[in-house]
C-alpha cells in the first residue's frame, strides 16, 4: 500500500476525519462542476421572485435580484477554493523563504530577518489589504497577497523554534561532519521535521483565508461585484438579516463548515503523515 | 516504613508490562530493583506512587505501611507521596524546576505537607544544604548554575527534606559521571543511614547497587526472575538474566582498582 493510501485511511478511520474529508472533497467536486454547470444561470434574475423561501425550483431560495442562491454558492466555491489555494501557496513560499533566511549561517541575515518578521507581524492583514486595494482596486489579488504575506510571516515565526531545534541537533551535526552543506541539511533534516507543524498551520491559514475573503469582500476591497463568491453572497444579503435571515444562513453555514473541516483536517493530517505518530506509516517501511 | 507488593500486574493497551510481581521491603531495609531497560522496573515505582498512565490496568496489591494504595484516592496518594515517600529521580536537570532557586525547591515539599513558618522552612532548607555537603551560598542559585552532581544532591535534598520513611531512588546515578556517581551513592548511603528510612534503589547496574543495598530483586520483561542477598547473586546468580547482568557489571568495572574491593569473583558451579 502506498503512503497516500495509508495517510487517507488513518484519517478516514476517525469520525471527524470522515467529516473533514467529505466536506473538503465535496468542496473540490462542486468547484469543478460549477465551472461548467449550475442548476440555474447566475444571471437569470426575476424581479417578481426576490427573497423567496426555498422551493422545488430554488432549493435554497432566491436573493434580492431573484437569482438562485444555490447556483451562486456553487459558483462561489471555485472562487473561494482558488483564493485559499493561492493564499496558502504564497504563505508557504514566503514562510519557507523567511525560515531559510532565519537559519542562514550569515548571522546578520539571520538576526535581521527575525527582527523584520517580528516588526511586520504586528501589521494587521486588513490594513495590508486596504493599502493594496489603493493601486489594485477590489480584486482577488488583494485577498491572496495580503493573506499570503500575513500567514507567511506567521508560519515562519511559528516554525522557527522547531527548525532551530533540528538545526542544532546531533543528527544535523553528524550530517555536517560528513560534509553536508547547509542546504542539504535544510532539505534532508530540517524540512521533514517541521513539516507536521507546517501542515497544521497551513490548513488553519486556508480556513482563515476563507474568513478573510468574506470580511474583505464585505468591506468592498475583496472580490469585485459580479464575481460569485461566498463572501459576495454574504455581503449582499447581510444587510437584510432581520427580514430574510435564511439567505444569510446558507453562505454563513457553508463558510463555517468548511473552516471547521479545514482545521480538523490539518490536525489529523499532521498525525497521519508523520511516521513518528503514525505506526501504520512505519510498518510500510519495515 | 514497610512496603509490600503482592502479585502486581500492569498492562497498557493489552500489552503486559508487569506480570505477577511480588516484592517485600521491611521497615529500615534497603532493597535494590535491578533490570535492563524495558524490564518494567520504573513501572513498579510509578505504580506505587500512583503515577500510572491513565490507560494502564493494574491488579494485585501494594501495601505501604499497612495501607492499600492501589486504587486509593488522589488525595490519600498525594499525602502519602509527600509525607511518607521521598523520590529521587534519574535526571536531576529534568526533575528540578528551572525557574526556582535551590532554596525554593527544598522548601516546596515542606510548604505542601507541613505547617511551618517561613523562617522554620528556610532554616530546615539551609540545614539540609549542610547535610548534602553543599555550600549555603548555593541556596540562591538556579539549577542551571549547578553541575550535574550538585543538581542530583539538591534532588536528594528535596526527596529527604520531609524526613520520609521510604525513599525511592529511581536510577539516581545513571545520568552522572563516575566521580559524581560515587559522591551521590555515598551521600545517599549516609543520609538513609541517619534517617533510618527504608530504601528502594532502582538500577540496571549491580556495581552501583552493591554499594548501597543488601537485598535485590532481579526483574526481566515484567517478571521477578531472582531475588535474594546481593552478595549471593553476585557470586552465584541462578537465572540467566541475573547472570547476564552480573557478567556485564563485572566486565565494565575497572580491573586494576586501588583502595576499593572489586566485585567478588563468580563461583564456578558445575
Amino acid at each position: 500500500m502506498t503512503t497516500v493510501a495509508i495517510v487517507a485511511r488513518s484519517m478516514w478511520s476517525r469520525a471527524e476525519g470522515k467529516f473533514s474529508i467529505l466536506v473538503l472533497g465535496l468542496w473540490v467536486l462542486v468547484s469543478l462542476v460549477s465551472l461548467v454547470w449550475t442548476p440555474q444561470s447566475l444571471w437569470a434574475t426575476d424581479g417578481y421572485q426576490v427573497w423567496k423561501a426555498p422551493s422545488a425550483q430554488h432549493w435554497l431560495g432566491t436573493d434580492g435580484t431573484g437569482a438562485d442562491v444555490l447556483s451562486w454558492l456553487m459558483a462561489g466555491s471555485h472562487t473561494n477554493l482558488l483564493i485559499s489555494l493561492l493564499a496558502v501557496l504564497l504563505a508557504a513560499l514566503l514562510g519557507l523563504l523567511l525560515l531559510t533566511a532565519m537559519l542562514a549561517s550569515n548571522q546578520l541575515l539571520a538576526a535581521g530577518t527575525v527582527v523584520v518578521v517580528d516588526a511586520l507581524i504586528s501589521l494587521p492583514t486588513v490594513l495590508l489589504a486596504l493599502m493594496l486595494a489603493v493601486p489594485l482596486g477590489p480584486s482577488i489579488a488583494v485577498i491572496v497577497i495580503s493573506c499570503g504575506i500575513g500567514y507567511g510571516l506567521n508560519l515562519a515565526r511559528i516554525v522557527r523554534p522547531q527548525a532551530l531545534l533540528a538545526a542544532g541537533s546531533d543528527y544535523a551535526l553528524s550530517a555536517k561532519a560528513n560534509g553536508a552543506g547547509g542546504w542539504r541539511i535544510m532539505l534532508d533534516h530540517i524540512l521533514p521535521n517541521v513539516m507536521p507543524t507546517m501542515a497544521v498551520q497551513l490548513s488553519l491559514s486556508a480556513g482563515t483565508a476563507l474568513l478573510a475573503e468574506s470580511g474583505l469582500t464585505y468591506l468592498g476591497i475583496g472580490v469585485p461585484s459580479g464575481v460569485p463568491s461566498w463572501g459576495h453572497s454574504l455581503a449582499t444579503s447581510v444587510k437584510f438579516i432581520d427580514v430574510f435571515p435564511l439567505t444569510v444562513l446558507w453562505p454563513g453555514l457553508l463558510v463555517t463548515m468548511v473552516v471547521v473541516a479545514l482545521n480538523v483536517c490539518g490536525d489529523l493530517l499532521r498525525q497521519a503523515m508523520d511516521p513518528v505518530s503514525n505506526p501504520e506509516l512505519r510498518k510500510l517501511a519495515a | 516504613m514497610s512496603l509490600s507488593i503482592k502479585n502486581l500486574s500492569v498492562s497498557i493497551g493489552g500489552k503486559t508490562i508487569l506480570d505477577q510481581v511480588s516484592l517485600d521491603l521491611a521497615d529500615g531495609q534497603r532493597v535494590g530493583l535491578v533490570g535492563p531497560s524495558g524490564s518494567g522496573k520504573s513501572m513498579i515505582t510509578k505504580a506505587f506512587l500512583g503515577l500510572l498512565p491513565p490507560r494502564a490496568q493494574a491488579s494485585g496489591s501494594i501495601c505501604l505501611g499497612g495501607k492499600e494504595i492501589l486504587g486509593a484516592s488522589e488525595r490519600t496518594l498525594a499525602d502519602l507521596r509527600g509525607a511518607y515517600v521521598g523520590t529521587v529521580f534519574q535526571n536531576p536537570a529534568a526533575s528540578l524546576n528551572p525557574v526556582l532557586t535551590v532554596k525554593k525547591q527544598l522548601t516546596l515539599p515542606l510548604r505542601l505537607h507541613y505547617d511551618l513558618s517561613r523562617c522554620e522552612r528556610e532554616e530546615r532548607a539551609l540545614a539540609m544544604l549542610d547535610k548534602l555537603g553543599l555550600d549555603r551560598s548555593v541556596a540562591n542559585a538556579y539549577p542551571s548554575q549547578l553541575s550535574g552532581g550538585q543538581q542530583q544532591r539538591v534532588g536528594i535534598g528535596t526527596a529527604l527534606i520531609t524526613s520520609p520513611r521510604l525513599i525511592i531512588a529511581d536510577e539516581p546515578t545513571t545520568a552522572l559521571d563516575s566521580i559524581s556517581q560515587m559522591m551521590v551513592i555515598e551521600l545517599l548511603d549516609r543520609l538513609v543511614d541517619q534517617s533510618g528510612a527504608s530504601l528502594l534503589f532502582v538500577t540496571h547496574d549491580f556495581s552501583v547497587l552493591r554499594r548501597i543495598a543488601s537485598q535485590a530483586y532481579v526483574l526481566d520483561r515484567g517478571k521477578v526472575v531472582e531475588a535474594g542477598e546481593i552478595q549471593r547473586i553476585l557470586t552465584s546468580p541462578q537465572s540467566l538474566e541475573a547472570q547476564g547482568l552480573v557478567a556485564a557489571a563485572r566486565e565494565l568495572t575497572l580491573a586494576v582498582g586501588h583502595g576499593r574491593q572489586p566485585l567478588p569473583a563468580e563461583e564456578r558451579t558445575s
Partner: protein, 283 residues
Amino acid sequence: MSMSAMRDGCESKAMRATPLLEGSNISKVFRGRLRRLPGGRGECSDSRRPALDGVSVAVRPGECLALIGGSGSGKSTLTRILLGLESPTRGRVAYRGEPVDGTRSEGYRFLRREAGLVFQNPFTSLDPRWTALRTVAEPLRIQARDLTAQMVEQAALEALSQVGLDPGEFAGRYPVDCSGGQAQRIAIARAIVANPKLIVADEPMSSLDVLSRLGILRTFRSIRERSPQTAIILVSHDLGLVQHLADTIMVLQQGRVQEYGPTSTVLAHPSSSYTKELIAAAS
C-alpha cells in the same frame, strides 16, 4: 591471540606510524560569560579561564585514544576542534599532515570524508523521521556521489549487519521502535558505513543500561578487529569501558592535560589526584 597481546601489537605498530590527527598547543577561550555549545549540551566557561589551555595530542592510525574528564573539563570542546567543527583560539590541528583550518582547507575536506561520529544519546542523534537504512546510508549519499543507489543501499545493509543488527528486520525501522542499544548500533553503523579512518565516539554508552553497554563494547571491538587501521577517539568518563578499548588515555581537567600515556601505565600508576579519584570511582 589474547586481547592484550593484540592490543600491544597494535600499540607498537601505532607508535611507529606517523600521526593521523594531530593537535598542537590548542587553547580555546569562549567570548562571553556563558556559552551554550551547539549540539545540545551546554558547557559553562567564564571569560578568564580558557576552556582549553595548551593541549597537544596525536592519534595514529589504528590507535584508540580515550579522552577522559568530568563536565567542564573541555573534552567535548577538544573533540570538536580536532574534527574541525570549531576553531581554536590558539594552536594548530593537522589531519594526514594537512592543516585543518576553515572549511576550505585540505585537512577539513579529508576529515569530512574520513571521519565518523557517534554521540551520547542515540535518540537525539538519529533523525526521528528517517528509517535506519536512510540514516546509515546518509554519509555515502553525501560523499560518494559516484556510487549507484543500489551500491549505497548494499553498503548500508552491510554496515547494519556489522553492528549486529539484522538488516531485514531493522532497515525499515524508525528510532521510536528501537531500544536505546539498538538505536545506538544504528548510529554506529552510520559512523562506519563509509569505512572511516577515524571514528569519534562521544560518551557512546552512558545513556544505556549495562547489557546494551556490553553489546556496544563488543561492537567496537569487532570494528577494531575488522579494520585495524581505523583510529578511534573515545570521549568517556567511564574507565570500566576505557580499559577494554583504549591504547592511550588522556585525562583532562579544567582544560589542562592531567595525564597522557598508554592505558596500562595510566591505570596502574596514575600521577594526578584527579585520575586516582576516577580510578577509585570506577573500580
